[in-house]
Assembly symmetry: C2
Homo-oligomer: 230 residues x 2
Amino acid sequence: MKARRAVVLVSGGLDSAVAATIAKCERFELYALTFQYGQRNERELESAKKVADALRVKEHKILTVPLDAFGQSALTDKKIPVPKQRSKQEIGTGVPVTYVPGRNTVFVAMGLAYAESVGAEAVFIGAHALDYSGYPDCRPEYFEKWNELAKLATKQAIEGAPAKIVAPLVQWTKSKIVETGHDLKAPMKHTWSCYESGPAPCGKCDACQIRAEAFARAGIPDPALATLKP
Amino acid sequence: MKARRAVVLVSGGLDSAVAATIAKCERFELYALTFQYGQRNERELESAKKVADALRVKEHKILTVPLDAFGQSALTDKKIPVPKQRSKQEIGTGVPVTYVPGRNTVFVAMGLAYAESVGAEAVFIGAHALDYSGYPDCRPEYFEKWNELAKLATKQAIEGAPAKIVAPLVQWTKSKIVETGHDLKAPMKHTWSCYESGPAPCGKCDACQIRAEAFARAGIPDPALATLKP
């Protein structure tokens, strides 16, 4: 029997590693897709390769998509500083400067193209809404609408088998993601969440703070920090 | 008063030149976006530059988006030949091998990202359904659904001003496009429709045949052919 296939968007971060692990546990054969989009962070890319390896994906494509051509985000524009040591309330308010215009929209579109080319029936993305309430393209209704568009967008769709966009974490808290990753043995130790590169996570940006709190709440030590020890 | 802005997707072909001209006539300030996506055709790119110049766009971004990484199309995969001298009935049947998986979906997504970054209120695309009935991502319902997604996808949307995806030609015949382009003085003479590169259009691929027929029906000589004369 031909294996069922899924495209998994793997950023190198924690969430996408857990989402891809969920796809693996659902017995999909995995086609990993990672984007270089001008993000400052090269550590993420290394992590993405390790995560894809650990999940024994069938194929891993690393593609350059020039979202940095549009600027407007602290993640792609060196002139905009990454905010540090913001309070929990600040993190939860408004659209943060780390928001990259159109990012998930472009990533899901590329995922659909890849899915069509390999005959995959799903595109897994690790987005979640709760801890990043300010990101428009992380909300459940956004992914629901994507699924309606996917039913019209491709040759697969015309032939009656559109790929589904699956965002399994979309309504989860970050600590539930950590717990699930732990239970499913997701390769969390290889993941990188910090908005900066460097020998170790900065510990101060929103992403570091959210990650640390999630592991603390889950009562699980962060395995990525363990690998940093001498 | 600040000029209203529109992103115009400019491929170098006839349709996008006419769509961009319509945006110009609606007094938008134009932000042109052209993609290199591994298409065989470098003539298209030259044409896109000339069209953007002729329309005096405010900015023209030419971005590489690696759709060729996924193969599956005669336009991006050198192993798949471009069909020649197909009958009108053959051209109108099924999804042609020149269909590029996910192409318009990725292009519109990138257009939305660009629109958000420059505060544009519309993204114009020259797709039309009638002469390419086989392309899933050229149908009116596809663009309608895109507009629903655009209302959720961006910070602009959250702030109550989502960019609109405008496909003004979507229900037009190719000859109506030619007539309108002629009336609005669209820079049709700079456009290139042929699926191949070369000193002159091949005259035999679907795109050449559709173009020639459209000019013939409209009773207008093709100004691009005139520029080829010695």
